[in-house]
């Protein structure tokens, strides 16, 4: 059982790390700010989400698990909102806040 959990953790964390890589490549290679933003949100939400998922399988106790989910939710919330604010300001003519 523990072996299966470990394997799942390794799978989830590796996939998460891959999304971080993809996000970075997108940030470096995409031509304009809005598509770079698109790449970034994938890395943020999925990458961290998968890492958290992998670690949840190893978490001891429900409070530790709750904190892990809390970290992810906070990042998600902040990421989404900031992304939208940036998208608005990056749009031509949309400099007002």
């Amino acid at each position: 059982m523990s072996f299966a959990l470990d394997a799942l953790t390794i799978l989830a964390v590796s996939t998460g790390a891959f999304f971080f890589l993809a996000g970075t490549v997108g940030l470096l290679r995409f031509p304009d700010a809005l598509s770079r933003l698109h790449a970034l949100t994938k890395a943020d939400n999925l990458g961290l989400g998968l890492v958290v998922l992998g670690l949840l399988l190893q978490a001891e106790g429900s409070f530790a698990a709750l904190k892990l989910i809390g970290v992810w939710l906070l990042t998600l919330l902040a990421g989404a909102t900031v992304t939208q604010l940036i998208a608005r300001t990056a749009r031509p003519g949309g400099t007002h806040e």
Binding site: G70, T81, L85
Partner: protein, 311 residues
């Protein structure tokens, strides 16, 4: 070891960027990243208490303070360009700094063996405080006078900042008034983040007696949430002449000092706690101190009064 080497290279890279960046805003972004990476370093050095403080103050609140300043000073960027020192001075400065670095490095390499440590003394006396976290025990018992003076230093800095206000706005409101847009994204995020943040802040403060955390870390998070609410326009900064505000600011140091003086009567020395009540007294000090520090930190970021008080 490979991880640590990579982390060190990253820290150094970001530090170099902070120094050489042409644009001040970009340099501040670099500084925030520097603080974040240092928090990781502190975890590697087995100092989670410090990592929390670094993440909250070193990176977060200092970052916001410097970002605000760099935005305001943006127009002066170009005027400073002509003042860049000549190549000779830069070279001399570089040599001097390399020398200083080499000196510090030599000290690091020649650290005495075995390393001097106060850990055994802390371990021997921690039971008397009733606390489980050695760092909190040091802050509140062994070095309590440092902590008391620190709360006073924070207040002095705030008095210094307040006294920079021009006469016409004396005793007024700090910073610009931010207006909340009821349908705006910023209002939305602030309404969600502030309650969550207050919860996290109280959690970090409360676990400080048994696990990494404590008053400074908790207070910084609370301060950040207050500043966020001000930036989003949910609340206005209070006028600096308000009586409740002044009372809130001095409550922590006053309680701390009072219990410290009571130590003469109860245990025979300043800031000495009678053993059976040590934990109770420490918590009694910590609660008002946390609130005072939170208010002071937030107002330090808000700056001097800029709008006249309402008559």
């Amino acid at each position: 070891m490979a991880f640590d080497t990579g982390l060190v290279l990253l820290v150094l890279g970001v530090a170099v960027w902070t120094i050489v960046a042409r644009d001040t805003f970009a340099a501040v972004v670099g500084f925030v990243a520097y603080g974040l990476l240092l928090a990781l370093v502190w975890v590697r050095l087995a100092a989670p208490d410090v990592a929390l403080t670094e993440a909250a103050i070193g990176s977060g609140v200092t970052g916001v303070l410097l970002l605000g300043a760099s935005t305001r000073l943006r127009r002066t960027e170009t005027s400073g360009a002509g003042e860049k020192p000549g190549i000779t001075l830069r070279l001399a400065a570089g040599m001097l700094c390399a020398l200083v670095s080499a000196g510090v490095a030599a000290i690091v390499l020649k650290f005495p063996e075995p390393a001097p440590t106060l850990a055994p003394h802390t371990a021997a006396n921690i039971a008397a405080t009733g606390l489980g976290n050695p760092v909190t025990a040091v802050l509140m018992a062994y070095r309590a006078i440092d902590t008391l003076l620190e709360t006073v230093v924070l207040l002095l800095a705030l008095v210094g900042i307040w006294s920079l206000a021009p006469d016409r706005v004396w005793g007024g409101f700090p910073g610009a008034r931010h207006h909340a847009d009821p349908e705006g994204v910023l209002t939305f995020i602030a309404q969600l983040l502030v309650p969550m943040g207050i919860l996290v802040g109280i959690h970090i403060f409360w676990i400080g007696s048994v696990a990494p955390g404590g008053e400074f870390q908790g207070a910084t998070i609370l301060a950040a949430m207050w500043i966020l609410a001000m930036m989003a326009g949910l609340v206005d900064a209070p006028s600096v002449s308000r009586r409740w505000l002044r009372l809130l600011l001095v409550a922590g140091p006053t309680v701390f000092l009072a219990i410290g003086l009571a130590g003469f009567a109860m245990a025979g020395a300043f800031l000495a706690y009678p053993a059976p009540y040590a934990k109770l007294l420490i918590v009694t000090i910590e609660v008002p101190v946390t609130l005072s520090i939170a208010a002071t930190l937030a107002l330090l970021v808000a700056g001097p009064a800029e709008r006249a008080p309402q008559r």
